[in-house]
Amino acid sequence: MPSALINVPRKAKRGDIIEIKTLMSHIMETGYRHTVSGEVVPRDIVTSFVCRFNGTEIFRADLFPAISANPFFSFFTTVTESGKFDFEWTGDKGFSETASASISVE
């Protein structure tokens, strides 16, 4: 049951700096752990996170095995026009999740 929590202000004034917060549900299995019988637990992590605003990429992050479960991102951007933020997480085992949030700029 993967799910995301997104926090984007609904409204902002033109030129405002806004904070965007995202939380993605994921186990982030490192690939360095072993089972009791000695087998490696295969790596299962989110490898990349992208945020686009009206189709243009504004933030990107690569993720690695040392990042904790349920990765949380907080970043800032300047708003110039109303539009839609699209978020995309991709990872191991074909993991791919998307979410979006709209903002209206006055």
Binding site: I6, K21, L23, S25, N70
Partner: protein, 258 residues
Amino acid sequence: MSLARTIAIAGLLVATAVSAAEAPQDQRRSGFTFMTPETQAMQDDDTANPGMLWVLDGETLWKAKTGAADKACADCHGDAAASMKGVAARYPAFDKALGRPVDLEQRINLCRTDHQQAPPLPYESRELLALTAFVAKQSQGSAIEAGSDPQLEPFIAKGRALYGQRQGQLNLACSNCHEENWDKRLAGSAITQGHATGYPLYRLEWQTLGSLQRRLRACLTGIRAQAYDFGSPELIALELYLMSRAKGMSMESPAVRP
């Protein structure tokens, strides 16, 4: 003379025992107050609190039909925001049919087996934690009322006895840390007063949500005692005692702890 002295000494001993037993009501502190401002902010912000991921899953499960009866929780209980408000603050509660207290996880599983005719969910499974977190979230901010039922008294007494009973290779009782040394630190971590106000909660160390039973078992392993099994009468008695001891404090579920 000597008899009077013996009585006086006995009286002193009783007074000491009582003062060491429980923190006075106005000095009780949630584990929240021992955390850094950063971790407190994480708990307070519903979009940064990872426990909310389980609450969201729980909301989905609440509405999902399951079992041979093909019923969802919502089919009987309706809107959880109304029907479940304050419920978690009363658990563990006395179950008349079983003649013993059950905690919130057991209540959910009893509902599943009796009314949904579905198999019970395993302890610490994502589904059971999600449903418990979702139900407990509806009581966020409510005052804890567990243990008010007079039928629970013998079970609270059992929990209190277990809480004060030394055990394990380190020969420690819960009270040795959480009553006598809660203002100190253990290997850099705050020793809290052990008020179970926020369960199920997200522990950063676990990187997942966990129940109060998991926490208690981890403490027992820490003092190198044999941990009681999930669902054992001992763990329920301890849960019940801890919740009755926290009576009047605010529910925080889903809390975040380091």
